[in-house]
Amino acid sequence: MNMKRVYVILLALICAVGCCNAQLIHTKGKMGVGFRGGVGLPTESSSYQIGYNIGLFYNLYTSNQLGLLIELDREKKQFRYSDFTNQVLLGVGCEYAVWKPCKWLYMNLDLCGNVGYDEWNCTVMDWDEKHLVFGMNGGWAMEAYPWHFLSFVLKARQFVLFGKGENYLKPDFSLGVKVNW
């Protein structure tokens, strides 16, 4: 983990919150359910394969800016000697709408705690590893409302997960569609 980069990200996000003027149309009691699909990042250990992730998410707005966020994700990725599957990753946290640059666009930041289940299957021998993972993630999203009942969410998240004596960072980038009511 590169802690320096993590600090830069946190600083950038704090600055973004401080300099924005939020005028929101989210109101208390509004909720939405969405589906997202996305990709990860190529790395040397994964022989530069990207992998993919899919997920469901749920929003319940408790005020104009703040809301409950529940996420359920699944990821698959190929590594040099193994097939990695994050069978399920549950995230519960809050989403804060920090800025509304125009009538139909929101910028949201969210923070969630995660619990999930990782599975590694070795492709070169009969060996596998399964264990629980815990952690948190921070996300930055742009949400566009072409209609009041439908929105599109472009999101970037960074996960920090711990499991079986090891920890790792995991980013993902996704595009989702949400039905609101």
Binding site: L41, V124, Q158
Partner: protein, 304 residues
Amino acid sequence: MIMGYKGIIIGLIGLIGLSSCDSREDWFELNSVTPDLVIDMDGVVDTIGRHDMKKIVVNLKTTSCREDKWGKWNYIFLTDTCNFTVRGLNEGGNYPIEGMFVEFDDFYDIHFDSEYDKEQNILKASIFKQIILAKETRLLISETEGEVINLCNGRIKVYDSFENMQVYTLEINYICDVSPTPVFSARKIGEPYEYLLSLEDSYDKDGKVLKYEFCIDGNIVPYNESDNRFERDMESFEDLEQDSSYYPVWQSGNAAYGGTYVRATSINSVNHSFQSSGEHVVYYRCMDNVGVWSIWYSQTINVE
């Protein structure tokens, strides 16, 4: 408006920072350990590990390891083969490992064949070496074990599927078999000249006795005699061929002639009726469980 755009820019900076942080590494590459070789071989195998140095010592029992007195020469032939079967690698309790690669390195003065069965993960190798020791080298037989003669040394490099490498030094030794010792006894059991000739008390220090031979009132091939009469009797046996492996002790059936020759029997005693009284010479020997015959011994019986 300017402040709004500033927010977008800072947000994008955050996005760029996110894009370089995937620290995951392959679990098995991270957690695989240096593998251990699992070997299937005839003979005794010891695998000694110390830090990153591993040694495999293989001691093979051989029957073709004999001291022979032939005129003024003392020589030993070691002609044997062994199968070196590698069953796989032990990787943290997971065994065998597919994709194993074994490289035999630094084997000198021996002939080495290898055949790697990928499906069964078995490497079979035959090692062959012939040693002729010079006259001044004597083979010392201990009380319970023959001399250990180093056959060959070499190095094995083993690579597993995760590119971990382990280096083994391989030492293959021969342990010469200790030939059995026949213990003879004779007693009269009937008239007029019936005797029980017994090798019941014979023993083998590193095994057990399986076969016995008697030659009564005959002659033995002097090649096996404890005293050296070879030079005197050699020309009588010119047409007798030696075993192709230079096995220096005559096999059953060719080791004696004349008289009553009881060939390789598992019965340790024989009843024999002598034709006359007087002195009779009985030659005897025995064979152990690895097929090594003792030399001929003799005893003179005074039949009355």
